[in-house]
């Protein structure tokens, strides 16, 4: 059949075939014609083939013909499609054709979506209702569409997000789960599993999907597959079975992973799903299969060689590891003598680097794992609960695997475990010698290969894998080392710093072709001939990018992330990074339409004011930066700008300020937040970019954002304003306050905005619920809690039924519940957001009045008082020191509930959390802010000191905080008192005596002396001594504005 029929004729025949057999023959003919032929595909799309295909797929099989869908179907050899009944074969061919059209590239997405192909494909992914081959082919079609979506240039995230939205609904998630759970060893099923894993890793980027999948048991299914690899590698320890039999868990041990299943893909899917969530990471560790296969019992044989080695090392003082605590898997790893002084390891990761110019920024609010989380660990990280043997196993895998893809993905899972605090304390060191160097090595190896010149449109699978590895490694490394100075040091020493910079620069090598060229055709006029009146189902969309170009864009993001991580703590690394001349590239990454990165010297001055781009948008040889690159670049600038010297030199020379100011007005909220966090650092007093930014109108934008609905943006904007008003001229200060609006500022520091918003939302939902089915909800006490948290069941236990009653499982269940409550505690999150904003608001006011020279300072204090209202302001300050009852007249929760979201000590009591009436205790950070504000007032004219002393109520409240747990509170109190009793010349003598009298009356002197004697901190004792002696009239250095943190 060398002849090919004209498209309309064949199409007509397909639509009007007499029977299935004929249809099958015609479809096969069509398939041979379109496969591998982009031009042929386009021709057929123009003729409207897609609608016919969708139509064929919509004819669902009749109810009585499930045609042997039992498990035996899964074993059908792949080539024998003749086994399928004819109607299924028609559908199979239609699906194959759709997959082939999707392989045509991004331009085919528009017509495919126009005929609504995704919902139709999705009806075929359920393995219980469809033959295995149809499931496989529909998954392939989805995968091909995802691939095409990743290449579509501008709207890349839109296309991918649309697919994710369609796929991740509970019906289809169940199907995905069923596919992953299937026990068959047939190669079809293995390929299905691989496709599901790769779909998850490419589409499941949003936390809500990740949670949905985890709740539906997909994570457990993936963990079981991971465990099956442990079995297949023969790494289940001999004593395991005995233990499991005792526990009744022996049935959970999976079969060894069959051939055809890819460990790298499974690990990647797992790592994407757990991402930055401690709850989901916990869910992985506690997954029954993992718990069964990797047991943390200690090894029986005490006299083994390696055990003795450990003992020797320990005796020699070379290691801190206690081999007794280690799991048996650890013996697969080399014994690592710890020769590094322990203080280098970040047992308590430095919340602040001590290096000179580093600045506090809201960085932490953008990363989800906060170091302070470590204080609160459910049974992990602290010494009585051993870490999961999965961790040494993953390290072992990294060292023994022959596939670099597997290694990188194992490291990615490890990074989540490490960041989530699930590793034992001394693991950081073994990561530094066993994991980081491996990653750096991979980076080096693949960096060499990336330079290959490539065919524009086609990438063979080897190159694709190499690219995938190269794209992921820097990002994985960045995640792993983000919180650890020590690991950053190792990474830099392994040469990864220079490599990251080189990769970033390489990603700005111009590429010759941006989008795939149109194929040549012998008769060019035919192309337009059949184009049917602009109907979108028959027209191709925009051509998208070539893979090489998409790869470059992803390299930008990944290398920027690694640079960001390396610049987080150490000043010398920041300097070294800047010395690599990467700032031009970083600056271009701040623009959606980048140009050639040029060093500042060569850049003509004119270009600063948004000169015309040399290349029209979309065809620039430097590609188009999506939001992910913009955000990554913002973070890189943010960490680099922590160094004042960078701020003054390189960053200023490369004119980063204006691009960031542009990003501040970007449509995407995440970009706005990221840009705002950079602006924070660019607006500090010593920054040369401050004035240009003010001229450009940054105040207006920030004030507007300080009123945003989004608490993250509000916080960052306020933070930036706080930096802006510090040490600036009077007019700017006044302008800021005016634009922000005194009323709004009062509201920010006074109200619990987020809490109120949450309350309103919940009340709305509750009302909605009540309206919906009044009878049912009326019976239950708390509709809201019922609707969300209470019904969470650990799927693993729930599904597998009895036999899961062992102690270990119950402990795990408890830990997961605690993790989940913590992570999903909306009240707590709202409370944290409110506190952070209130703190910034108070600091903002403080910075307003912080002026070193006298008349100006007094004038500003008066101005602030007149704008905000003196009495109102003092009332608010007092209220911050008091226990606050939210919504006292609302329903009270039963006594079983704790004090959710309140003091630092109170854990989340999740299940019983009520949103109604709650008691909030004063928070030390807010108290410090209040005290320093008063300190600044007291540093001014005698009149103002008198004013503070007159606030008896406020002072009484302050007196109650001398025993505060927080050292900052105690220290700040000393500052305040010292300032209050300072005597400003002879005419203030009388005033001073009165103030001393008042303070002594309130018992302050006594309390100070108490601090002087008993405080645990030397610093506080010293300051208390100074303050006490000032009260007694012994010394007079002049009022002091405390230094350090308070200035920013």
């Amino acid at each position: 059949m060398a002849h090919s029929q004209s498209p309309p004729a064949l199409l007509w025949q397909i639509q009007n075939a007499r029977n299935h057999a004929e249809q099958i023959e015609l479809l096969r003919q069509l398939k041979d014609e379109v496969i591998g032929d982009v031009r042929g595909k386009e021709k057929w799309v123009n003729h409207g083939i897609l609608q016919s295909l969708v139509h064929l797929l919509q004819q669902k099989p009749t109810a009585q013909s499930p045609s042997g869908l039992g498990s035996k179907e899964a074993y059908a050899p792949i080539s024998q499609t003749t086994d399928l009944p004819d109607d299924d074969r028609v559908r199979l061919l239609a699906l194959q054709l759709i997959a082939s059209f999707a392989k045509g590239g991004p331009s085919f997405l528009a017509p495919l979506n126009a005929v609504g192909v995704v919902p139709v494909i999705l009806t075929y992914i359920c393995p219980r209702k469809n033959p295995a081959q149809l499931v496989l082919t529909s998954l392939r079609a989805l995968s091909d569409m995802t691939e095409a979506a990743s290449l579509s240039s501008r709207t890349s995230t839109e296309d991918t997000a649309a697919l994710a939205k369609a796929l991740f609904v509970s019906r289809y998630i169940d199907s995905l789960c069923a596919i992953l759970d299937a026990e068959s060893t047939s190669s079809i099923v293995q390929e299905q599993k691989c496709l599901v894993a790769s779909l998850i890793s490419r589409l499941c980027k949003e936390p809500r999907y990740q949670d949905m999948l985890a709740d539906a048991g997909v994570l457990d299914a993936l963990a079981t597959l991971l465990a099956s690899f442990v079995v297949a590698r023969g790494e289940v320890l001999p004593f395991t079975l005995d233990t499991l039999e005792r526990e009744g868990l022996d049935a959970v041990i999976p079969q060894p992973a069959p051939r055809g299943l890819s460990l790298a893909l499974i690990l990647e899917a797992i790592s994407v799903m757990i991402a930055d969530s401690r709850f989901r990471t916990g869910l992985l560790l506690c997954s029954p299969a993992i718990m069964a296969v990797l047991i943390s019992s200690e090894i029986g044989e005490r006299k083994s060689q390696i055990y003795r080695t450990w003992e020797m090392l320990k005796k020699g003082g070379l290691t801190y590891g206690r081999p007794v605590d280690r799991s048996a898997i650890d013996y697969l790893l080399p014994a690592v003598p710890v020769t590094t002084p322990r203080f280098l390891l970040s047992q308590h990761p430095p919340s602040f680097p001590s290096t000179g110019g580093s600045l506090e920024t809201p960085a932490k609010h953008t990363t989800r794992f906060m170091t302070k989380d470590r204080e609160w660990l459910v049974g992990s990280g602290d010494t009585d609960e051993p870490e999961s043997p999965l961790i040494p196993w993953l390290i072992h895998l990294m060292r023994s695997s022959t596939s670099d893809h597997e290694k990188v993905m194992a490291a990615s899972v490890l990074a989540s475990l490490f960041k989530g605090g699930f590793t034992s304390p001394d693991r950081e060191f073994s990561l530094s010698v066993l994991v980081v160097p491996v990653l750096c090595h991979i980076l080096k190896d693949y960096e060499k290969e990336s330079g290959k010149s490539l065919d524009a449109t086609f990438v063979d699978s080897e190159t694709a894998t190499a690219w995938a590895i190269l794209e992921r490694t820097p990002a994985v490394l960045a995640r792993l080392i983000a919180d650890s100075v020590f690991l950053q040091q190792i990474t830099r020493d392994s040469g990864a710093l220079k490599l990251a910079c080189k990769l970033l620069k390489d990603s700005y090598e111009p590429s010759a072709t941006q989008s795939p060229p149109r194929p040549w055709t012998p008769n060019p006029e035919e192309r337009r001939d059949f184009g049917e009146d602009g109907f979108s189902a028959c027209q191709l969309g925009p051509p998208g990018q070539v893979p090489a170009c998409a790869h470059k864009i992803r390299m930008r993001e990944s290398s920027l992330k690694l640079i960001t991580s390396l610049a987080t703590f150490k000043e010398e690394f920041r300097k070294e990074i800047v010395e690599q001349d990467i700032l031009p590239s970083v600056a271009e990454s701040l623009s959606e339409t980048p140009q050639k990165p040029t060093p500042p010297k060569e850049k003509p001055k004119m270009e600063e004011d948004g000169a015309v781009p040399i290349h029209p948008a979309g065809h620039s040889p430097y590609g188009h930066n999506p939001t992910s690159v913009l955000i990554a670049a913002c973070h890189a600038v943010r960490t680099l700008a922590r160094s004042v010297s960078n701020l003054r030199t390189a960053l200023d020379d490369n004119c980063v300020a204006m691009p960031i100011f542009k990003l501040l007005k970007h449509v995407d909220i995440d970009v706005k937040i990221a840009a705002c966090s950079v602006i924070c650092n660019l607006l500090i007093e010593s920054s040369p970019m401050r004035d240009p930014l003010i001229k450009a109108g940054v105040i207006g934008v920030l004030c507007q954002y300080a009123k945003s609905d989004n608490s993250g943006l509000r916080l960052n904007a306020l933070w930036a304003l706080k930096h802006l008003v510090h040490m600036t001229d009077r007019d700017t200060k006044k302008q800021c306050l005016e634009e922000l609006g005194p009323g709004w500022l009062i509201q920010l520091i006074c109200d619990d905005t987020e809490d109120e918003a949450l309350h309103a939302r919940v009340m709305g939902e509750r009302r909605h619920l009540t309206d919906a089915d009044e009878d049912e909800v009326m019976d239950t006490d708390d509709g809201y809690a019922e609707a969300t948290d209470d019904i969470w069941q650990w799927q693993a236990i729930h599904r597998k039924g009895p036999g899961f009653d062992s102690t270990r499982m119950r402990v795990a269940d408890g830990m997961l519940r605690a993790l989940r409550e913590r992570e999903f505690d909306e009240v707590r999150k709202a409370r944290e957001a409110d506190l952070a904003i209130q703190e910034q608001g108070l600091d903002f006011i403080r910075n307003l009045i912080s002026i070193p020279n006298q008349p100006a300072q007094a004038e500003m204090v008066d101005y602030v008082f007149s704008e905000l209202g003196q009495d109102r302001l003092f009332d608010i300050l007092a209220s911050k020191l008091r226990v606050k009852v939210l919504r006292p007249f609302a329903r009270r929760q039963s006594s079983s509930s704790g004090t959710p979201g309140g003091g630092a000590g109170s854990g989340a009591s999740g299940r019983n959390v009520s949103i109604d009436s709650r008691v909030l205790y004063p928070q030390s950070k807010i108290i410090v802010a209040v005290i320093y504000f008063l300190t600044h007032i007291a540093a001014g004219v005698p009149r103002h000191r008198q004013l503070v002393i007159a606030q008896t109520e406020l002072l009484k409240l302050l007196a109650g905080h001398f025993n505060d747990k927080d050292v900052d509170v105690r220290r700040s109190l000393c500052h305040l008192l010292k300032n209050l009793v300072w005597c400003d010349g002879a005419e203030d003598r009388l005033g001073r005596d009165m103030r001393v009298f008042e303070l002594e009356k309130l018992g302050f002197l006594q309390k100070l002396e108490g601090l002087e004697r008993n405080d645990a901190e030397l610093d506080v004792r010293e300051r208390a001594k100074e303050a006490a002696s000032s009260i007694k009239g012994e010394a007079g250095d002049g009022p002091q504005v405390p230094h350090g943190r308070v200035d920013y």
Binding site: M1, I78, T81, S100, S186, S187, R259, P519, W520
Partner: protein, 248 residues
């Protein structure tokens, strides 16, 4: 290193005719390689290269446990056969039936097959009416060649077959009509299918042979004490047409 020794012992097992034994060879002779391993290697070769019947027989004779079935083995054999006999259209169609994704994601393979198909069309025209071949080249091959230098060169070379009489061809043109081209393309197809379905590209023995060659070369470059010539053990009798064995 175990495998290394094993393969050396295997290869030298037949070369017993050496008069004075080299130290290396006595060491080799000491190594016992389990027969089951060698059988497994042979079965692997048969499965991977696509000889289902031979594999089945060998499995019975050698009393081996059936390996995990390879669902593609029959299809691979059919496709290779179709290419060997010159029915490229059928080979492409079968390949699409086996896995529609292969040709879509591998333009090089697709081009090789289409060029082979063009060669068959030219061969069948026997110098009379080349219209079918020219149309085919224009429709199927030219659009691909337009965007790829390498394709363009190969297409031009192939089209030259139309001009010169088949019995007076330059050697590089004659090679196009030789059955080796079919065989190589068939092997290429086999490799691609294998890679997609088993993550492996070739039979394990090919890798072992390459490893042996590498080991020998690196030993010689380091001037280790080796016999001047280590027989592979296959060229003693006739060649058996096992030339793909020497892939190194």
């Amino acid at each position: 290193m175990d495998i290394h020794r094993r393969i050396q012992s295997q290869t030298s097992s037949t070369s017993t005719a050496t008069p004075s034994k080299h130290a290396f060879e006595t060491r080799v002779a000491d190594v016992k390689s389990p027969k089951s391993d060698i059988n497994a290697l042979i079965l692997d070769y048969l499965m991977m290269e696509g000889y289902p019947k031979a594999a089945e027989k060998f499995q019975k004779e050698a009393n081996l446990k059936p390996k995990q079935e390879d669902p593609t083995i029959n299809a691979r054999q059919e496709i290779q056969h179709a290419i060997h006999v010159g029915n490229i259209q059928k080979a492409i169609s079968d390949l699409n039936e086996l896995d529609p994704g292969i040709l879509d994601s591998d333009p090089h393979l697709h081009f090789s097959l289409l060029r082979l198909q063009l060669i068959e069309l030219i061969r069948n025209a026997k110098g009379y009416d080349p219209t079918a071949a020219i149309n085919f080249a224009q429709e199927k091959l030219a659009p691909r060649a337009a965007s790829n230098e390498q394709f363009l060169k190969e297409l031009e070379k192939t089209m030259a077959l139309l001009i010169f009489p088949p019995d007076k061809l330059q050697p590089d043109l004659a090679a196009l009509l030789h059955s080796d081209l079919r065989r190589n393309t068939a092997a290429q197809v086999n490799e691609v299918v294998l890679q997609r379905h088993t993550e492996r590209r070739e039979a394990a023995i090919r890798q072992l042979v390459r490893m042996r060659a590498w080991a020998e070369a690196s030993c010689r470059s380091k001037k280790r004490n080796l016999p001047d010539r280590i027989e592979l053990g296959l060229n003693n009798g006739d060649d058996n047409g096992h030339e793909p064995m020497v892939t190194s």
